[in-house]
Subunit: 164 residues, 2 copies
Amino acid sequence: MNDKATGLELNHESRLQIEDHQSIRLWLRLLTCTNMIEQRLRARLREEFATTLPRFDFMAQLDRAPDGLTMGELSQRMMVSGGNVSGIANQLSGEGLIDRSPVPDNRRTLCVTLTDKGRSRFADMAAAHERWVVEMLGDLSQAEHQQIMMHLTKLKRGVAALES
Amino acid sequence: MNDKATGLELNHESRLQIEDHQSIRLWLRLLTCTNMIEQRLRARLREEFATTLPRFDFMAQLDRAPDGLTMGELSQRMMVSGGNVSGIANQLSGEGLIDRSPVPDNRRTLCVTLTDKGRSRFADMAAAHERWVVEMLGDLSQAEHQQIMMHLTKLKRGVAALES
DNA sequence: CTTAAATACTTTAAATCTAAAATGTTGGAC
DNA sequence: GTCCAACATTTTAGATTTAAAGTATTTAAG
């Protein structure tokens, strides 16, 4: 049976291999695009605001959550380790850009918020950041934006749904 | 004139803002997808092969270039600093997975190649790596693959074409 | 109430990564 | 030939990151 089906099996297999390689190529392309954009943003944040991408991300998460976030929520949303978040929080707190206030009914958690200084500092950076991103993604039409978003949404769901 | 056109200007401006936010959202989605995939790959490489993503990437670049690559080429292709490449090369060389041989007509450059041991070690990892990636991107049809690739190619060109 | 597991966070140790300086090499300009 | 800028790489110092261990708190089971 295996021998008889060899022709078809090969076709099938070679098709699969092509699809596999396409997956790898797609992943590498995704990685390249992200790296390119990330490196540009990183360089510009350093040059123009003397800050880093993780610090910017930290503040962006807080800016989007006016009621504040716990350290754990920040860790999840930034997709970095908890220890990392602690370190960045120490810096930003030292510079007076964020507040860490205890939560009444749970002494383990801290609620992190932007200070007024932090909020206004972030506003400047966010405006520039948005300009840079638009500049980089500007070649794509709105229709293309929507298509990629749709596909990446599907991709994201697929990855998130995997076990472990 | 400015006052007269206010209505239209506002429309125009708000449309622009929407597009701007879409660019940001697209960038964040791109980043999230890449991070999710990257973290899974990183964890699996560690669990199953006791190695890291940069080391895997280093070997993958060499596997794709049978004639070998210089340190500078590796740095470019991996999109990391030269110093970083030196460090990883030291590790892999110490484990007998790569060779660094001088180039006859230019004593500044080193030609890096996989050893037989490195090539066979990489083959195992690459097979698993490909399974993992296919597993994660498998929800997308071939047509979708091609569409995203097309869009990311355009995106990549746009970013690469920017000054500086 | 006591204990044990789970949770939220921080600390630690080691690896990674970067920018910048240092080293050695090459290729003209003169 | 001599110098000087450009190049390829390594080294260095410092920042970032992670996984894992540690601390403190909460929850819930017995």
